[in-house]
């Protein structure tokens, strides 16, 4: 009779701890969310407020790797002087913030709104001069863009890594060149301008904005080419077709031939 209430009390205590922990987590999470939204609302229009918002976001989401003043750490490079265009590319493609350290920063769903990305970019741009986010008229190829010349430039400068049709490819040390199938005009322009990851930098003096637009127009044109054969098999060319024919087609034929030639089952 004396043992029973003791047990109940223990259970109560455990439950209470769980409830308190949940409430605390909820409070912290909600408070964090409210605080983040608050910084978002404060920034509209005012450049210094935008930089302040960007700094707040930076301290929350980036400083653990890039350092409190973006000076870089053993885990991540300095962001002083990389410019707004680099921030816009890395964050708008979801590459930053990183989910985990690794050879490659994979593209994923962006974690920040466009307004937040611009605030982050404004903050990083305030640290040192670097390429600005290109304007729409700078990266949008005109209707009469020189597709053929864009293709020539693409094959000389880009195709070794990104493949002739922009499908991407493998690089050394576990890295890979991403496919260009989903990149926006602005992201392609920013990538050429800033050279993300191991990609070389193509400054506006080396490839003028017009030549960059020709390259973007070529990528868009290649992307728009339909696949009349049904399946494109990665659009990597005849190699994949041969691989499928030999590995899958031949394997199926071999199994069928074995079935045709097998001895008949006998009744016991």
């Amino acid at each position: 009779m004396r043992v029973r209430p003791l047990r109940i009390r223990v259970r109560h205590r455990r439950l209470a701890g769980f409830v308190v922990l949940s409430a605390a987590l909820f409070a912290v999470g909600t408070g964090y969310g409210l605080a983040t939204e608050h910084t978002g609302a404060a920034a509209a229009g005012d450049p210094s407020a935008q930089i302040a918002q960007g700094r707040a976001l930076f301290l929350q989401g980036c400083a653990s790797c890039h350092g409190k003043a973006a000076e870089g750490t053993a885990n991540a490079p300095s962001l002083i002087g990389v410019g707004a265009a680099a921030v816009d590319f890395q964050v708008s493609t979801g590459r930053m913030p990183l989910a985990q350290q690794g050879a490659q920063a994979p593209a994923k769903r962006p974690r920040y709104t466009q307004e937040q990305i611009e605030a982050l970019a404004a903050y990083v741009a305030s640290l040192g001069p670097g390429p600005a986010i290109p304007g729409k008229e700078q990266y949008t190829p005109p209707k009469n863009a020189d597709l053929a010349f864009g293709g020539t430039l693409f094959r000389t400068n880009c195709s070794a890594c990104h493949n002739f049709t922009g499908e991407g490819g493998a690089l050394a040390y576990g890295k890979k060149a991403p496919p260009l199938t989903h990149a926006t005009d602005r992201q392609i322009y920013e990538a050429m301008l800033t050279g993300p990851g191991t990609m070389p930098v193509f400054s506006d003096a080396q490839l003028t904005p017009q030549e960059k637009q020709d390259i973007i127009a070529y990528i868009n044109a290649v992307r728009a080419v339909p696949d009349p054969g049904g399946f494109n098999l990665g659009r990597l060319g005849p190699v994949t077709e041969g691989l499928v024919a030999w590995l899958i087609g031949m394997a199926v034929l071999a199994v069928v031939a074995m079935w045709i030639g097998a001895r008949a089952k006998r009744a016991q």
Partner: protein, 329 residues
Amino acid sequence: MSEHHGLQQPTPARSVRPPVIERVVRPQDADPRRAKRAERLVALSFLVSAIGTAGFIAAYVAFIPHGPGSAGESNRWLGASLGVALAGLAFGIIGWVRWLMPAHETVEERHGLASPQDDVSAAARIVVTGVRETGLPRRSLLKRTLGLAVGLLALPPIVMLRDLGPLPRTGLRTTPWTKGSLLYNAETGRPVKLGDLEVGGFTTVLPKPREELTEEELAKSAVVLIRLRPGTNKPLPGRENWAYQDHVAYSKICTHVGCPLTLYEKQVQQLLCPCHQSTFDVPDGAAVVFGPAARRLPQLPISVHLDTGEFYATAGFDEPVGPSFWERG
């Protein structure tokens, strides 16, 4: 043993024995219900085939391609329905043979492969008679003139080897790069100036605008100009003044089998050949760090005109560019 025996004494009646036939009793032969089930399975697969054919006609009508863009969908459905039609038919026929048609295993013995002795002797007689009737052993004039004619016929293919020439002479050792050549961007044709390349930038340059080079000259004169991270370049002894403010220029042609080295990784500052993955460490004099290439990339010494800011070569290449050849030494 038996074939050898057959060759000596051809006796067709003995060598081909009647086939041995063994009837096999399968579960379907023993149990009429299992035979019925097999029959239904075969019929079902014929029905599936019929549905596939109907689907093909339906797909042909339903998906009318209006150009290459919509042809893909049409082709997918046509291919899938025709595949079902043919696969159903094939499965049904094979199942019919395997499960329902009478099963018996047959052993057929082959007769000896050699021809009967009579045929061999007859053929030998024909050859001997033929040679005797040509009179070759006696008519030595004919024998010699025939030998001359046939022997001369072997010469034309050898003479035609002339078309492999002309010999390259010095072509393998020289390039159009000379002292004072400007570095023209390979595509845009603009001379590259100091400041055109950002740190981590690279570009392909030629000694002249592209139109002024022959195909042969173009093939050997491609050079990559790379701007390294400040202070990372480690020039080889005697090449201390071959770079200009972290800009270095190397032949773009892989020393393995001559593919263009366009794959430059900015972080590790290595050039990688997409053909066989030869990797060259650019700051270390383009030394081979991986892959089948055996030699560094030839380096082009460069400098900058102080008035115009344009890059120029202070000399041509001091060694042949591209892959090895026998006489290279």
